[in-house]
Every structure is written in C-alpha cells, then in structure tokens.
Amino acid sequence: MSLASGGLDLGSYLTWLARRQEVVASNIANADTPGYRTRDVGMPGDFSSVFAQFTPVVEEAQGLVTRNDGNNVSIDRESRLLAENDIRFNLATQLLKDKIKGIRSAIEEGRSS
C-alpha cells in the first residue's frame, strides 16, 4: 500500500491546492493595482486526469469584468476560492491522515489504533 493508492495522488493534489491558494492571495493583494489581471490555476478538467499527477498551470482567469483602471480582480470570486480551497484542503488532509493511520497500524502489526 502506498500513499497514492487508489490512483488518487493526494500529495500532488495538496500541492495544487497550495499553489492555487498562493495565486488567490496574489489576486487579493493586487485587488487595487491598476492594470493587474486576475490569475488562476488550471483545474483538472475531466475526471480521468484526477487520477494522474496534478501539474498546476497558472493562466489568466476568463470572463471577468475589467474596471476603468484595467484591473479585473473580483473580491467576491477570490473570497469564494479562498473558502473553497480551505474546504478542499481539509478534505484532502483528512483522507491522507487516514491513509497514514493505516500504514502506521500495519507497521505496528495492528497492535495500536
């Protein structure tokens, strides 16, 4: 049994989430910077790619309204992503924790936990 069992690589999912959180933090910090364009980390589009490695690709977010100063950061969108990432991270760490627990139990020959 490995940490990537079941095909889902939780480690790289966490990396992807951390990268996304970084981009969201960058968008929030630049919410008042003239000419700044909102960035986003590409979401694995189809379900099959969820089982492959996540490679975070930063791109410009589409479909946002540009203000007069050339900035298109929507603070509502960013707060939603902030909350969403937090929940996703919570879920992924919980799953990983359970897996680690399983491995530990095997190491200790099932005596503990």
């Binding site: 959180q21 933090a25 910090a29 630049n30 975070p56 603070i75 937090d86 924790k97």
Partner: protein
C-alpha cells in the same frame, strides 16, 4: 513555493494598504494646512500600487518566474497632486496674498473617507487570506499526529 509564500504575498498586500491608509490620514490631517517647508499649501498625496515579486532569494525568484502567477504588491511611488490649490477669501489671514485670498489644499473629505474605506477593506481581505492559509498549514502539520 509553498503555503508560506502566500503569507508573504498577503503581507505585501497588507503593507501596501497600510501605507495607503497612512497617506489618507496625512491628507485629512493637513486638509487646512497653508504652510509647508516647500512653500505654499499642503498638496494631496496618493499611493501608486505596482505588482512586485515577494521572493528575495535567487532560487525563489527563479521558481516564481518559471511558475508565473504569484506576485505581491508594493507602493512604487507616491504621487503629489499638482493641481491648483483652492483659493478662499480671508483678508485677515497671515498667508493671504495681496488680494486677500489664501491658498488652501484641494482635499475633499468625502473622497478621502471613501478611499480610507477601500484601504481598510483591502487590508481585511489580506488578513482573511493569511488566516485561511495559517489554518491550512496547521492542518498539514497535524498529518502525522
């Protein structure tokens, strides 16, 4: 880069918004100042925000360049309002000119207050981002407990 990188990015946002709020406070405090060391009335100041990398190590900057995307913010310059000051008729004033007019700073308190609210909300948003990331780091530390 890691989750700690996001904290630096948000901290740069907090710093920029704080400088902006400081300038607004300065503008409001000097709304009626008619004398300055450079002569003439006080002139309104405003912060100019520019994106800036938050990494100061070479490796960090290189990683950022390769990955793209995360940029902090910095106050690149402070603009000083160069428009004509407001002239008020106050003949008894020590700074009055020959016609009895005194040059006052062109500062609109309503405009400054709205700007201050913007700075305060921006600061709050960055604080919220930091606390979320802090929770995430905390949870990843608990993985091996």
């Amino acid at each position: 880069m890691s989750l700690f990188g996001s904290i630096s990015v948000s901290a740069s946002g907090m710093e920029a918004q704080r400088i902006r709020a400081e300038l607004i406070a300065e503008n409001m405090a000097n709304a009626d100042t008619t004398r300055t060391p450079n002569g003439g009335p006080y002139r309104r100041k405003d912060a100019v925000f520019t994106t800036a990398p938050v990494q100061n190590s070479f490796a960090g900057t290189l990683a950022e360049f390769n990955a793209g995307g995360t940029q902090g913010v910095t106050v690149s310059s402070v603009t000083v309002d160069q428009s004509d000051p407001e002239r008020r008729y106050l003949p008894g004033h020590p700074d009055a000119d020959a016609d009895g007019y005194v040059a006052f700073p062109k500062i609109n308190p309503a405009e400054e207050m709205v700007d201050l609210m913007g700075a305060s909300r921006g600061y709050e948003a960055n604080v919220a981002a930091i606390s979320t990331v802090k929770d995430m780091i905390g949870r990843s530390l608990e993985l091996f407990k």
